[in-house]
Every structure is written in structure tokens, then in C-alpha cells.
């Protein structure tokens, strides 16, 4: 059996989705944890320092490359699977089984994923490009602040620029978070199923964690633009 056979089999493809999915879930934990620092009432100092740490240390930078690879694999494989699976039934049904047999979001991972991808492109443009590539090729540069005589990127203020007074952007971000929530509501537990968790004692735990995760993390993310918009930070 070759590696190609393993990873091009139906289960192998799902393994790729599951592994990259869990990797991206781990990333979300780091991301939401760091960003929650915006609520530390010190004018963004903790947050800017945390962001600086992630941007300047070698380990997070290497992980960042892994992150892009993870996103890439998850997206490409996801689209391939969706297209291939759809092609297996050339004549459809007149009456659909629909929500009687499964949850709508479990059948809509491709669409939810696409919404998240569109959101992601905008999100990268808002924050990642200015902080990593700002100054190059006319890309807008982040402002700076001084803490104890050292200069830092003022990402905290950048978020204010993007969100404060921009109702449309805030709504788009909240919609992106809702898509993420539904994607996770199915994806979290499905990933573990794919990796072979069949012991119900563990699976029940994973399922409960997955639902909690799918609510708490996107909610925390959604509260960030809302907080800026409403002037809470």
C-alpha cells in the first residue's frame, strides 16, 4: 500500500480533513485567547505586547507557515470532497430527506466553509497584511505606540479604526462568526469520528465539548468588533 493510496482513499481524504480541522481548532484557541486581551483595561498594552510576541518570535512564525498550509489543505481537500461527493448522484430526488435525517449545517459544510473563506480573505486584508507586510508594495502600515521606551505595533488601535463606526464591517464579522459556529458544531465532533473515536463514553464528552466550543469561541470573536463598535474598549 502506497502513501498515495492511503491519502486518496475515501477515508484517507477524510483523515486529512479531520487532522487539519483539529489543527485549525487549536489555532482558534490560541487566536481567541490572545485577542481576548483587548478587554484587559490597560488601553491595549497587554494585547499589543501579546501580538508583538506572536509576530516576533521564531516558533509562532514557523507555526504560522504551518497554519497557512493547514488552511490550504483543509480548503482544497474540502472543495474536492464536496465536488466528488456531489457527482455520485447524477439524478436527484424529487422529495428530499432534508432535516428529518440530519442537521442542515452538517449537510452544508461546503457553503459554511466558503462563507468562512470569504470572511477570512477580508480578515487577512484587515489585519494580517498590514501587520506583516505593512510598508511593502504600498500596503498600509500599522501605527505604533511606545511602552517603556520600546516601540510596538498598535494593533489595538488598528481594530478601532476598522470597527468603530463601521456598522457594515461589524455585521459582516458577526456573520462570519456565526458561519464559523455552525461549521464547528458539526466539524468538531465529525473530526473525532473520522479519527476513529467510537467509544461512546469519550465521544459523548467530545460532542458536548464541541457544541460548547462552537458557541463560546465564535461568540467571543463576535464580541470583539461589537465591543469596539459600542465603545466598550
Amino acid at each position: 500500500m502506497t502513501w498515495k493510496q492511503v491519502f486518496t482513499s475515501s477515508i484517507g481524504k477524510k483523515l486529512v480533513m479531520g487532522f487539519t480541522g483539529i489543527f485549525l481548532i487549536l489555532f482558534l484557541i490560541v487566536h481567541v485567547g490572545l485577542n481576548a486581551c483587548i478587554w484587559v483595561p490597560d488601553g491595549g498594552e497587554t494585547f499589543n505586547k501579546a501580538a508583538h510576541f506572536m509576530g516576533s518570535m521564531i516558533v509562532p512564525r514557523i507555526l504560522e507557515i504551518g497554519l497557512f498550509a493547514g488552511f490550504f489543505l483543509h480548503i482544497i481537500q474540502g472543495y474536492l470532497l464536496t465536488v466528488q461527493n456531489r457527482s455520485k448522484r447524477s439524478v436527484g430526488y424529487a422529495v428530499d430527506y432534508g432535516n428529518r435525517g440530519s442537521k442542515w449545517y452538517s449537510r452544508s459544510m461546503g457553503i459554511l466553509g466558503t462563507l468562512i473563506l470569504l470572511f477570512l480573505i477580508m480578515h487577512i486584508y484587515h489585519f494580517w497584511t498590514p501587520s506583516r507586510l505593512g510598508g511593502m508594495w504600498n500596503i498600509h502600515e500599522l501605527g505604533t505606540v511606545m511602552y517603556n521606551g520600546k516601540e510596538y505595533h498598535d494593533l489595538f488601535n488598528e481594530m478601532r479604526i476598522v470597527f468603530a463606526g463601521n456598522l457594515v464591517i461589524v455585521i459582516v464579522y458577526v456573520l462570519g462568526c456565526i458561519s464559523l459556529g455552525y461549521h464547528l458544531a458539526h466539524g468538531f465532533k465529525s473530526a473525532f469520528r473520522t479519527l476513529g473515536v467510537h467509544n461512546n463514553r469519550y465521544f459523548d464528552m467530545i460532542k458536548a465539548t464541541g457544541y460548547a466550543f462552537a458557541i463560546i469561541v465564535p461568540l467571543a470573536f463576535a464580541m470583539m468588533p461589537v465591543s469596539y463598535y459600542l465603545g466598550w474598549v
Binding site: 500500500m1 475515501s10 430526488y93 428529518r100
Partner: protein, 253 residues
């Protein structure tokens, strides 16, 4: 439940053969007893069609007692009709009311091509079984069944998986036309028993390879198969299949 009779409108998929383009035809059946099974209602309709000199509707059936898995009708958007844990032959007309319109379609999946009308070709399942759904035993005297100790829980789980009657409703219900519930039931059934141990790895690899070759889709764990399965085969069998496959494929030579 009180016995009653009903008149029904049926919208049935008619298709001459695999190559022909099919379509729905409307039929009316009258004085159908609530005690009849769904297939008996179709028998009445076919008698009527033969009487009128029309081509009767072709559909699969054999045991008519819910154990062979050959009956296959997609009724009002659900394989085997509205009841839970039930086959088409065991669906009774008391599930319907006078005046209902019932839509009946064949299983739809490119791996299950229509032979005629409501009958589809499910030999893909046979080929998957041939690829590994067996154990090898030496001929000679039959071994005493109790000579191999098997933990009760494993025996029960294996038996629950062995309940699968190979009807294909899981494929019909799945948006991906995936056969994973069927394959997982067959793999789990044998993987849980010591008799299945010698071929455990090659079995799962070969059966999954055959499943892919037959053109079934990849499972995305939506659970529609489990919800429609007449034998209530659990989705956790699919997780077991994934585990069996992962271990076997990563350790294969």
C-alpha cells in the same frame, strides 16, 4: 387501531431501463386497507395495471418480513418510508390517510443504477462483501462455537452490526451517496470477533478499496444513514471503520 380503507394518489418513478430517461407517473388506488403492507398496496396497483393492459411496476422484494433487505423504495423523501427502524415491506398502510399523495422513487446513486422502475442494481454491495466480508476457515469438523472465549459486550456489538441486511438505504439517504454505514457494519461485525482477527487488516483495506472503486462517496458524518437504517446500525460503527482503516493503512507494508 381501528381498521379503515383509503383512496390514494401515487406518484411513481417509471423508467424502462438504465439508459432510458425516466419520469413520474400518477396512479390512483382505491379501497386500500390500513392492514395492508406497502408492497401489498403495490401488488393491488400492479393487478390493476395488468388488467388495464399496462406494464406493471417493477420493484424488488423477497422475504416481505424485514430480513432480506431486497425491498427498496424511497417513499416521500425517506428510504423505506416514514416509520423508524423499518423496511418497506414492513411499512403498513396505516401510516397513511385517505386522500394522501405518496411519492415513490428508486434509490438514487450512480453506484446503484436503475434496472427498471423502482428496482436498482445493488451488486456493488456483493462485490464489496467479496472483497473481504468473510473469514477463512479450514474444512473438516465444525469447531465448537464455545471453544473461543468472546467477551459478551463484543459479541453483542458484533451481533448488532451483523444485523445489517444490506438494503442500501444508507446510500440512498446520504447526500454523498456513501456506503460507509454498510461497510462499517460488515467490518465491525468481523473485527470484533476473534474469528475475524487473521484477516482484520486486509479485510478493511480491501473492502474500502472496493467501496471506492464502486464509486460511492466519502462519509461526512451527517447521520442521515443511521436515521433511516431499518436495522438501526449505529454511526459509531463508521468511527470504528475509520479507526480500523487508519491503523491498517498506516501499518501496511
Amino acid at each position: 387501531m381501528e381498521h379503515y380503507t383509503m383512496n390514494l394518489n401515487l406518484k411513481v418513478w417509471r423508467q424502462q431501463n438504465a439508459a432510458a430517461k425516466g419520469g413520474f407517473k400518477l396512479y390512483r388506488v382505491e379501497n386500500i386497507s390500513s392492514e395492508m403492507s406497502f408492497l401489498e398496496m403495490f401488488d393491488v396497483l400492479n393487478e390493476q395495471l395488468i388488467h388495464d393492459g399496462e406494464d406493471p411496476i417493477t420493484f424488488d422484494h423477497d422475504c416481505r418480513e424485514g430480513i432480506c433487505g431486497s425491498c427498496s423504495m424511497y417513499i416521500d423523501g425517506k428510504p423505506h418510508g416514514p416509520w423508524q427502524a423499518n423496511t418497506t415491506c414492513q411499512l403498513h398502510m396505516r401510516a397513511f390517510k385517505d386522500g394522501d399523495t405518496i411519492v415513490v422513487e428508486p434509490w438514487r446513486a450512480d453506484s446503484f443504477p436503475v434496472i427498471k422502475d423502482l428496482m436498482v442494481d445493488r451488486t456493488a454491495f456483493d462485490r464489496i462483501i467479496q472483497a473481504g466480508g468473510y473469514i477463512s476457515v479450514n474444512t473438516g469438523n465444525a469447531v465448537d462455537g464455545n471453544s473461543l472465549p468472546i467477551p459478551k459486550d463484543d459479541a453483542d456489538a458484533s451481533f448488532a452490526a451483523a444485523m445489517c441486511i444490506g438494503c442500501g438505504a444508507c446510500v440512498a439517504a446520504c447526500k454523498n451517496s456513501s456506503a460507509m454505514l454498510f461497510v462499517s457494519a460488515k467490518v465491525a461485525h468481523l473485527a470484533l470477533l476473534p474469528q475475524g482477527e487473521p484477516e482484520r487488516r486486509s479485510r478493511v483495506l480491501n473492502m474500502v478499496a472496493q467501496m471506492d472503486k464502486e464509486g460511492f462517496g466519502a462519509c461526512t458524518n451527517t447521520g442521515a444513514c443511521e436515521a433511516t437504517c431499518p436495522k438501526e446500525i449505529s454511526l459509531s460503527n463508521i468511527a470504528r471503520l475509520n479507526q480500523e482503516y487508519t491503523l491498517a493503512s498506516l501499518t501496511a507494508k
